[in-house]
């Protein structure tokens, strides 16, 4: 759930390309809109290499690669213009509301019920992903599990996971496991510097703050036995104004602290006022803000998004960052990263519970893909074959080897899975903690307003309380107008 809007001007678009040629009985062309990056490029290449259509004809997958920054504009423009160009679309989970109510995404519930293979796949998908990627009106994971069967009665299903994404900790193994630093850290804080994966499993936000404070080093000071050529910082996480680059991280703090966002699954009863700006939520947001002081100075601009912290980490300016698994590959590429051989990955820190366990609730990222409503039955069936092909274990494993991730619990449980990519173990552990932000059509308005208020707090113009009060007030009024709160 992490499209990146660099805000290139753009509105409804009309990407031509659908040839109007009559479809022969067997040969089917599926045009799919997809963001332009490794997980989708892999799908296209692997499809061309391995896909054989069960109905004997030749199926071509015509993937229209659209750069991430203009992806939302192109898709939104194509749909709202009635162009009917795409048969399948890689979409963000939050757009479900807008484009289901717009009549563009196909309800697959009946198809799943009537096709045992699809049913089996849906049952094997991690419930957090099904809740976030497929259900509209949105049903939380708890509600799906309470229903006891999959697909749960009375729930509509739309999407299947194309690339599940969670945020994990990237950290400098060479620094965090350096004896000198570990000794100094233990001396100062009485706890040990998280060096191994297990250490990170036991790291809570308090230690995250300590790491931040501990590793604030100016140019010329010592770090892990070497003289620093430039300023160095201990920690960083996303705190940007664009798209969802603060909401994703703040939600984690709020949920872990017992707070909540407006719960669309309990509409129209759930209120925004009093929930969004509850004491728990405000304290959580304050905690989030408190760590910014240890982070690189770009945090003060309110534009420290997921790419900025990735760059800071790759150029060796930051010890540990919390970022999406999807951005992992470049960190291992020597051409773009100075720390390609010094990085390790662990689960994201969380809030320590009474019983000593760590609550790592976070906001799911990644994208499902959906079918559109204007396809003939033959095309729908063939598209579902493609879904089955994509979600088959072999394809899922091959995808994971090439920078993708699998949504199937059985594939994640495969012993070789964690070894495929250095962050897989952390990702699999994090998947279990995922929840998602709102899906209703007003998603964008709520997100933009919230991001603007959070940005004012991040840049110190207003306090956490003031920010959440204005968000609560805005959402209350908007949702009452939209009929989501009565």
């Amino acid at each position: 759930m992490r499209t990146f809007i660099s805000g290139l001007l753009g509105a409804t678009t009309l990407a031509a390309g659908l040839t109007g040629a009559p479809i022969l009985a067997q040969d089917i062309t599926i045009t799919m809109a997809a963001p332009d990056w490794p997980p989708t490029r892999f799908m296209k290449e692997y499809f061309d290499q391995t896909y054989k259509s069960p109905n004997g004809g030749t199926t071509t997958l015509d993937m229209d690669f659209i750069p991430w920054p203009s992806f939302y504009e192109r898709v939104a423009a194509s749909l709202t213009s009635g162009e009917q160009k795409y048969q399948m679309i890689v979409t963000d989970s939050q757009w479900l509301g807008a484009f289901v109510e717009g009549g563009y995404y196909l309800d697959l519930t009946d198809k799943i019920n009537s096709d045992p293979e699809l049913k089996a796949i849906t049952q094997d998908l991690h419930p957090a992903l099904v809740s976030a990627y497929s259900t509209y009106p949105h049903r939380t994971r708890a509600q799906l599990e309470a229903a006891g069967e999959v697909p749960a009665p009375g729930v509509n299903y739309y999407g299947f996971p194309q690339f599940p994404d969670t945020y994990v900790t990237y950290y400098r193994e060479d620094i965090f496991c350096h004896e000198g630093e570990m000794a100094d850290f233990k001396a100062k804080y009485g706890t040990n510097l998280p060096c191994s994966y297990e250490d990170w499993q036991d790291t809570d936000w308090a230690k995250w703050g300590q790491v931040g404070e501990f590793f604030q080093r100016k140019k010329g000071e010592m770090l892990a036995g070497e003289k620093l050529a430039d300023d160095f910082y201990g920690i960083a996480f996303q705190a940007g104004k664009g798209y969802d680059f603060s909401t994703m991280q703040v939600n984690a703090f709020v949920w872990q602290n017992g707070g909540d966002i407006w719960d669309e699954s309990k509409a129209p009863k759930a209120q925004a006022e009093g929930v969004v700006n509850s004491k728990a939520a405000v304290d959580a947001f304050d905690q989030y803000l408190s760590y910014l002081q240890y982070m690189p100075p770009v945090a003060q601009t309110g534009q420290m998004d997921i790419f900025v912290i990735q760059d800071l980490y790759m150029q060796g300016k930051v010890g540990a960052i919390i970022d999406w698994v999807g951005l992992g590959e470049p960190v291992l590429d020597p051409k773009s990263s100075t720390v390609h051989d010094k990085s390790a990955f662990g689960p994201a820190p969380g809030t320590r519970k009474g019983d000593g366990s760590i609550d790592r609730t976070g906001n799911i990222g990644g994208q499902p893909f959906v079918l559109t409503t204007w396809n003939s039955d033959a095309v729908v069936d063939e598209a579902l074959n493609v879904v089955k092909w994509w979600l088959s274990p072999e394809t899922q494993l091959e995808a994971t080897k090439n920078g993708g991730q699998s949504g199937r619990m059985s594939v994640m449980a495969d012993p070789s899975y964690n070894g495929l990519r250095p962050w897989n173990r952390a990702h699999v552990e994090m998947i279990d903690w995922q929840k998602d932000v709102w899906h209703i059509p007003e998603f964008f308005e709520m997100l933009t307003q919230q991001q603007e208020e959070f940005d004012k707090a991040i840049t110190g113009q207003i306090t956490a309380q003031e920010a959440l009060d204005s968000v609560a007030e805005f959402q209350q009024e908007l949702l009452e107008d939209g009929g989501y709160i009565d």
């Binding site: 709202t80 104004k241 690189p296 100075p297 601009t301 059509p441 603007e452 113009q461």
Partner: protein, 305 residues
Amino acid sequence: MAEINRRTGGFGAWLLDPKRRGALLVTPAIVILFVMNIFPLLWSFGLSFFNYKASSLKVPTFRGLSNYERVLTDEKVWERFQTTAIIVGSSVILQLIIGFLLALMFAKAFPMRRIVLMLVLTPMMLSFVSVGVFFKLFYEPTFGIVSYLLSAFTEDRFVVLGSPAGAIAGIVIADAWMWSPFVMLLVLAGLVSVPKYLYEAAEIDRASSLRRFWTITFPYIKSLLLLAVLFRTIETFKLFDIVYIITEGGPGSSTETIAVYLYRTAFQFFKTSQSSALAYIVLFIVVVMTNLYLYAVNRRAEEVG
């Protein structure tokens, strides 16, 4: 056309007979303009009186002027107009100063003048997007050049975009860097048109450089400067890419210009009718400016005539 006329004689001659020739020559331009511009304008103008949302299938209902009223009473809109005014004002003034100084520099003929002039004209040829991206990198406290150059003076890293004022400065500098050469071209054309013997007379009359500037140079470029102001104001009013890329309207909403707000309402919130209403208010302001622009052009013609 002329060849046709000679060959076809009758019909061609009728077509090209003086009374109708003016209209005939104008038609191709008007047709293209009408098809491409005026139809969409009328369509969206009509739209601004309904409550059409591009993303929903509900049938739009007539809302009369309520969209306009809503936009004009929306306090956020006035805040954005104010931000836009600040950015446009400071950017245009900065462009005037830089453009003017560059023009004075290029007024003299010196060896390799064409090459140096090209160096200064290049920024105009870049796309807004690339200028936005690279200037954002220059301003970045850790990787950027600005903080590196200033690191000698500032104790810790200087964060250009950290404050609203800094963010506005960042945008204005990028825009001014790109378009000052345009102002320079205008002023240079004025400077080049000053007859040389006037300067010789001033030299003979031992005029001080200030008096010489005020008496001879300035009158020739005065209305050209005005043209530059009006033209750049209209273009900067539409500024979107540089603002969106460098600050995304941040910190908070301190640099969110009207164009950015218009983009959000139209393409993120899909409030198509409201954005059309706001757009027409913006158009109205721009049309008023255009009239000022025409008035300046006419005054320029009389003055020099």
